[in-house]
């Protein structure tokens, strides 16, 4: 379902230092942002358990975007590299589960880079919009119970 009027719903996990700061800067600049991304603040991208991403998709998100500090700029030394490692493993898992890995993105934005933040969000929403709504075969819709074949 690749319709231009499809409004995907995404979750954006933001580290509290650079990414949240970049989101604030984007706001201060009053640059329009698609309203499709639900923002969740975490201390560091290193805190993001891949379960959070899977849970977001399971709850109804069509995509997830994780934003952290630039490589080398992590406020906790190296934890954003850990996030990168987990992200790549997660993409493999999603592929195996039949989920297009393009639904999950990892980006970096410095605390002063409001423009970068806006672009990351806009690109992620556009990418997921072109992929259409996420359909998880394994997860029964709310209210129905799964039946073993």
């Amino acid at each position: 379902m690749n319709t231009p009027d499809f409004q995907p719903r995404l979750v954006g996990f933001l580290c509290t230092w650079c990414a949240y700061g970049a989101a604030d800067k984007a706001g201060t600049a009053q640059r329009p942002l698609p309203p499709n991304v639900h923002l969740i603040r975490v201390p560091c991208t290193g805190r993001i358990d891949p379960q959070f991403v899977l849970s977001a998709l399971q709850q109804g998100a069509d995509g997830v975007v994780v934003v952290g500090c630039h490589p080398g700029g992590c406020h906790y030394q190296e934890q954003n590299y850990r996030a990168v490692q987990r992200h790549h493993l997660l993409l493999k898992l999603l592929t195996q589960l039949g989920v297009d890995p393009g639904r999950c993105r990892l980006g970096f934005a410095g605390a002063s880079e409001g423009e970068v933040f806006t672009r990351l969000m806009t690109d992620a929403v556009d990418a997921v919009r072109s992929l259409g709504p996420l359909r998880l075969a394994m997860v029964p819709p709310p209210g129905e119970t799964s039946v073993d074949p």
Binding site: P35, R47, D49, F52
Partner: protein, 649 residues
Amino acid sequence: MKVGVFLCTCGTQVSQKVDPAALGPRLRPLPGVAFVEEVAFACGTDGKAAMHAMLTRERPDAVVVAACSVREHEETFRGVLSGAGLNPWMLQLVNVREHIAWVTPDAAQAVDKAERQVRAAIARVQQQAPLARTTLPVNPGVLVVGGGPAGLAAALKLAEAGRTVTLVETRSILGGAPLTYDEVAPSMECGSCLLEPLLARVFHGELAPRLTVHTLAEVTALKGSFGHFTATVRRRPRFVDTATCLGCMACVEPCPSTLPNAFELGLSTRKAMDFEHFGGLPSVPVLEPAGCLRTLGDECTACRDACPVPGCVDLDARPTELEVPVGAVVVATGAGQPPREALTPFGLGALPVVWTQAELERRLSSSGPTSGRVLMPSGGPPESVVLLHGAGAPDEATLAVTASTLGARAARLQRQLRAQHPSLAVHHVFVHRAASDAATFQLQEQARAEHRGEWRQVPDLARVRVAPAPHGAHVDTGEGRPLDAGLVVLLTPPLAPPSLRSLAQALGLPLDAAGWPRPAHPVLERQRTPVRGLVVAGACAQASSLADAFAAGTAAAGAVLADLVEGRHVVLEPEVAMVDAARCSGCKACFGSCPYHALSQAPRGRVAVVNPSLCVGCGACVATCPSAALTQQHFTDAQVLAELAEAFR
């Protein structure tokens, strides 16, 4: 749980897009919501007073404020909560201004988005638990490891500020690298002269009562954390009591045993009972067990018999260990050198006319093995010298980074050599040319102007070959004609000291792949490390000139004084990781995820424990734990998942 919700209008900044009249009715029916209240400027005096009144009247268990950035006003609203008798961690602040009102052109979409974000916050806050910062008193005493320029500078500055300082030095004398230099760049002062006033202050000045010096000593372990460390200091015996020794040398002469003098790099010999060097303090001899006849089973007591002070020489002394409680540690152990294997390609060891820079320095020293005369094996002075800048550098980066330091040293050595032998031709072979300050540049320019010899820039040192020749050596630099050399000197770059690896392990100091300590921030915090209370200074932290090392020692003292203040308490944030011992399998996966060394094995049993004074609350260990045994307070899985679930309800 009763949740109170405040919707800040920020004048009209929020309400022009996110109208409380539209949003409020959608939130009031939600489970747990006790009230939804509009506030004009929540951060202003009136706004805070209005919130205070509402909170004291309604007494909710938790509060959601929809206003602006966490970075701007989380602390403000936490203050309002605690002022009203609520726990400040029972707050969720939703940034509806920057993240929604200012960036969502369509008002209806803005209200929809705000509704989801505030609903998620209402769900999350009900999963939150009351938390509090805790405090611990600090020990204002400081341990300084290393008695060279950086360590001395740090120790003296700390003592000047009234601090009790324990200074640990592995040699028998303080002073470090300048002890080995007859002159230091760029001032061309003698190394010992530079040190003398500093060492006098450490041992005899008004600061001396606050400074405890342990020579022949090493730090073998560090327990605890910032504000309350306990260091284990292991001291090798000197066999001479520094408190009562007169420095009269009566014990040296009768000693029947000689051994190679390590301080003079084996270029001369010393007695087993002898002074390590005369340029440093304390001016007290040290018995070298490796050369003492007693080590070989003999009953020699010649030194003790000759000593005029009863009990001063104790031939039965044993290594001792002591525990030193301190609040912070300054690591200043000095630079390392390339291993000898890295220098053999340049003929070191095979050709008697190839010397290391250190060997030349000792020969140039008036207190050195040749009383300052540079003489070749033939007995005469060299006719020409080739200085090979950066020999033994492990990589291109080292050559580039140390070019200024090596250039200054080369200029100084040229000056010292030509002061002795004015007709001497001095050739320089180097890859990079650099000067980190004006004085260094001037020194190098002067050397270039007055040189007799060639300054030859080469693309790399790998192609340099040193071959024997009748008059000494041929230095083939890979291009141009080979340089004739009566003497070849290998100017070795200062490197990350290999000895730092074991010390770093003992201290829990994080190192990078090249073996350098990692700074807390590469620009803002060069002296602090990721481990609070561990501070680095001087050539053990980065390639430094002597001036850099003294400055870094002062900066390190400043970093310690700013953080470790007498009477102050360490404030511990509550947003730290916690271990559920019942779930922990003891796999230690979390240890590697923490660059702050906050995780360790419980003293009894196999489970992990978190040191809350080291944990910085990044949460990476929580996501690493395969058993869900770790949680992070205020960022628990349950809290994040509650937020997610409500957003998609």
